[in-house]
Symmetry: C2
Subunit: 476 residues, 2 copies
């Protein structure tokens, strides 16, 4: 599906060369930062700074004119005054540039007729000359696979190349998706921020990501669209091929006004969007946390359904309150918590004793603390072996644990989780709530994430993420 | 109100001496851990370990019998087998002990008639002898003000003594409340975990906290009650005096079953509870995060109403997407985001320029990056000075900021926040979302929390917390 997009978008996500127009020898200028970012990231092709001033920046020669670049130029990043865009597009036409990404802003999002008209003139000129436009008012492409960083930061941060694709109408959300990805091991194949989207828009990029074999799940941050019918059709097609998680903002009056000022988007009714997303078989989320949580779990658990969940809590001190509140969080989200088989419950009672234990599901394993880690591991293994259980959801309170045990014992527990997950084929999800031992908790989180075990900081967020994977695959 | 509770509960929260029964010379035994915890915390009175074995533990003499302690004993922590409880209560009567807290579990929460009956016998014996019982199946008192730690951890952690009180039916939730308090500067006056609550229960402790002059806000984790009518009456009275935030669990079928196994609580319909809490003028929350978020904001902002909020985002890179999504999060929670006055908007346009800015409310200040920090500070100050604005809600993405600026510049921003808050009398709330710079973010968070600026990790959580304070004080 949409296979034609692969060839068409080759110069967008895999350009052989990039020109940055508006990169003077002042290193603090946006264009210059962009050049530095590409160098820092290790972009594999040539990077050509362009500015009428000439000179050098970051050791590279600045071309006074796009047309003077000796090579072909696939992709242009334009950070120029808005008054100059039409003339600049003439240069691009002369140079036979394939794609221009405009960082330049101040068009329809200002709400003023003259700038909206200029935007339309840009589009006409681009179409006449076979140039594709990303933006204006955007950061363009993020492609870890081809070492293109997200936006003009001179650090040129690049995450590990992975299987998650995203589109974002907002640059700051694209940037934050990249940062959270680095922190939580959400590894992107590619992403794009398309701002006002006057030429290439959400539908185009969604179609590309649907066709891209490196991408297995797609996230989208949307503020609005100029062509709802076409976009909903695309969403439906994409969601047939791979999980598509959509965060649509501008749902409220003030949110919609802000969206208008931000990317010139006309927001339609929140209810219409929700209904259309649901009907199209995509997953709707309502915050950046929900979006990244869903992307993480789709990335880590693949096609798992896992509707029958076992909750385990109380790895050190009593897990009673955690068991009760986790049951509510999971049940209210729609997960199933079937009672363990009577055989498993009998085995758990023999192992942990009846007093101070909750052994039906949820399971409070805190009584294991009187016997040592091997009893704890046996208890978790008994739950994992129960045939009715499809997914283990374990809450681990690092601060409480460390009030009773050592950091070495904590690491042994995590090693056991990894080993258990590898040995059996039931997915394991860990909840690590923040508390008074944040450095240790962050270490544990990294250790589990590196082993591809999804980690969440609250039970409610874990439950919602698991539910999104349940929902998507059970309708397929 | 409830002034009589102050004297009655003096031996509970301010005991002159504590005996720990079940503290043998084996340092790993629960009772022995408890003794160590009290020593570590610096409990100001004598601690008497008691066990038939005699001997010593942690350098203290173990009394073979409660009655052999030469001193008066106000408060007893009992970690003994359940079979021994009745005989033990005879000893307590002989010794004229005022309060016994039973860590001992295995009573009505087992669901078995013989243990439910034993629980009733305990209660009768205690009543006949003028002994008050906390529990059984609980951790008892946490009182930073009197150096009583929360539960049997040998570390004996004690947070800063403050103005937040809590009651919790669950020990693990009490423990986690304490840990989160230490991490987020939620400073408790006192808390209590009362488990099965056969004698002193939620109502008693709520009445005490209402009367306690050191407590200005109360949080409650509840699984169920034996006397709903009495409890709702108490909630109503307490909520008249101070903000009362209630997290009631066991709302779902599995949650209610777990509550039964945990503290022998019969959960009633979630809808009845919600209606009763609302009617009583208390605030209902649905997770540990919401509970602690509310307690934090009540502690830090006092009587602030702050219904007219200004959102500021984009301290470095574009805050467009953040502005749009934050508007949704705040509006959907019920906060008001009034447009800034035309005067303020004009001043902001002069300062930041029109292109790439959102200046109505939310305010995207990212264009300040082209001018430096002093322009950023001016912009924030202009928003703060607008007479319609009652509260500033600022999102600060540490990882994005650090891709453009230095950590020293970040610290200057936080110094400015603190200085601004001190200078004017409008509260300031900061959202610091997690990302790829966690150590730096945690430093920033501590810096702001130490200056009594409430910090949240998502806009949605900040909005909900602000709304809870709005709601409470606007009905008063």
């Amino acid at each position: 599906m949409f296979k034609e997009k692969l060839k068409e978008f080759e110069p967008i996500f895999y350009p052989k060369s990039i020109a940055v127009v508006g990169a003077s020898s002042q290193e603090k200028k946006m264009g210059s930062r962009w050049v530095k970012g590409l160098i820092s990231a290790g972009f594999p092709g040539p990077v050509y700074p362009v500015a009428s001033s000439g000179g050098t920046v970051w050791g590279l020669k600045i071309f006074p004119d796009l047309k003077l670049i000796p090579d072909e130029v696939d992709y242009v990043i334009a950070s120029i005054p808005r008054q100059a865009v039409l003339e600049f597009l003439d240069d691009c036409a002369a140079k036979k540039v394939k794609v221009v990404q405009f960082f330049t802003a101040g068009f329809s999002e200002t709400g003023k007729p003259q700038w909206r008209e200029l935007e339309q003139q840009m589009l006409r000129k681009a179409r006449e000359n076979g140039i594709r436009i990303i933006g204006p008012n955007c950061l363009g492409v993020y492609c870890p696979d081809h070492k293109i960083p997200c936006g003009p930061s001179p650090l040129g941060k690049i995450g590990i190349s992975g299987s998650v694709g995203f589109i974002s109408q907002s640059g700051s959300i694209a940037d934050k998706l990249m940062e959270i990805g680095m922190a939580r091991h959400i590894n992107y194949s590619k992403g794009v921020n398309f701002g006002n989207g006057i030429d290439l828009d959400a539908s185009d990029f969604l179609q590309y990501l649907a066709a891209d074999s490196k991408t297995t799940v797609v996230g989208a941050y949307l503020e609005g669209t100029r062509n709802g019918r076409h976009l909903f059709g695309t969403i439906k097609e994409v969601a047939k091929t791979k999980p598509l998680v959509i965060w649509k903002v501008g749902r409220t009056e003030v949110g919609a006004q802000a969206a208008m000022s931000h990317t010139g988007s006309l927001a339609s009714s929140a209810a219409i969007w929700s209904a259309a997303i649901e009907q199209a078989g995509a997953i709707e989320v309502h915050s950046l946390e929900e979006l990244t949580d869903s992307l993480l779990i789709f990335q880590q658990l693949g096609r798992c359904k896992g509707s029958n969940v076992a909750i385990i809590g109380g790895l050190a001190d009593g897990g009673g309150g955690i068991s009760v509140s986790a049951s509510d969080a999971c049940m209210e989200t729609g997960l199933k918590l079937p009672p363990l088989s009577s055989k498993t419950r009998k085995q758990l009672t023999n192992l942990l004793g009846e007093v101070g234990s909750i052994l039906r599901n949820p399971v409070d394993v805190s009584a294991a603390q009187f016997h040592g880690l091997s009893t704890l591991f046996q208890a978790i293994e008994l739950v994992a072996e129960d045939p009715i259980i499809e997914l283990l959801l374990i809450q681990e309170d690092v601060d409480i644990f460390l009030a009773y045990f050592s950091i070495e014992e904590m690491k042994k527990i995590n090693d056991f989780f990894i080993e258990l997950r590898n040995r059996q084929n039931k997915p394991l999800v860990v909840v690590l709530p923040p508390g008074s031992a944040e450095p240790e908790r962050l270490d544990m989180e990294q250790m589990l994430l590196e082993a591809s075990i999804p980690v969440f900081c609250t039970m409610g967020r874990a439950a919602k993420a698991i539910m999104s994977i349940n929902k998507y695959f059970s309708s397929k």
